[in-house]
Symmetry: C2
Amino acid sequence: MRFTSEQRHDDGVLEREFTLGEIPGSEIPGTLWTPGSGPAPLILMAHNNGLPRRESRLVARARYTVARGYAVATIDAPGCGDRPRSDADEQARADLRRAMQAGEPVDEIFESFIGPLVEKAVPEWRATLDALLSLPGIDGPVGYSGWTAVGIRLAAVEPRIAAAGLFAGGYVPLAQREEARQVTVPLLFLLQWDDEGNPRQRALDLFDAFGSREKTLHANLGGHVGTPWFETEDGGRFYDRHLKK
Amino acid sequence: MRFTSEQRHDDGVLEREFTLGEIPGSEIPGTLWTPGSGPAPLILMAHNNGLPRRESRLVARARYTVARGYAVATIDAPGCGDRPRSDADEQARADLRRAMQAGEPVDEIFESFIGPLVEKAVPEWRATLDALLSLPGIDGPVGYSGWTAVGIRLAAVEPRIAAAGLFAGGYVPLAQREEARQVTVPLLFLLQWDDEGNPRQRALDLFDAFGSREKTLHANLGGHVGTPWFETEDGGRFYDRHLKK
């Protein structure tokens, strides 16, 4: 892990850009925010495919979480944000756009696109986690926040994840819908009730499937990007309950 | 409204028993908790049919809410708690028990029992609200907490109700399922995912039906009485957002 830039904010938060890996063209770019004083438990904030890690709502959520006393890290997924897109990525995105505009079913395209993306993203998150936990001032237990499909796989295979806040608004591959039963950490599952692209019943079925003994669903009226800000605060309290000693 | 007893707790909370109405046998008994210093916005805490207002979980919730800076009032519904039961009440309860033990459908019995109960309870809550708001140190806006069926009718007909936290774990008569569309105040709807006696889909349909532009569903794993305590705190923050000036 190599830090490439560093910025100290007025509130004491240290924001550092980093890259992980040495192979040109396949480095993983990320951002790490740490509070003014440590050590702080770590939250991995994974964003859905397509959004760059510098997207303003993500940054606002990260900064809020750091102000609560956490270290927060995010990386761009393969083909997202600052990372090069393969011809296959471009083709899949073009297929998706065309199918959506034509009102055609998109599940198969999503499956062929998001399925492999999750397979690639999870080992990257685990490598990032290794690197982050070796830094001074960053501590376990570790929380996860955001992208549901990656969160399911990561929580199922990575024993260092102690709690997960998942956003239901994204395609979850069939493999992860099966793996949901293997997730046993405390969960906060966030659903937008009228999310345009994401069938409500599928999200409710997924909530039902999780193996966790403590799981809470929060659903709010509105579309995909309409999550009210108070849910960020509720998320903060969820992590406080499970990550603060 | 006549106060019949008064107790000052160590934390400064004043707990007063009251009765409303003068006709022997039909007085409404209630409890009012007020914080040490006022004025405080009022929350009407209605409990589901069957539970007395002195039930320990209700009292704990009331005391917590008062500690957040609210006045909280509750009354016993007709035939509940300290109030006399009619022969028809006794018969309905016996029918319910028998049907449940036999594993028979109970919707019709509930409908014939809870439907009229809601019709009787709502005017009593409105009279109680009138009396409470005439007391010094008790202020609007007014919140409602608890029994869904009464909350729907009350929020639909009573413009002084500004926000409602509803517990999904009780039979909601057909009339109130229709009236849900007329409810427009901010809502927090609390569902136990595995509530034995209450069909999950019916609760989700009800959440969908509410006319409110701001409505949030919180669902937690577990049965009817398993609501985690942090939901009481979440409820407190919900009221803070809508009732505190």
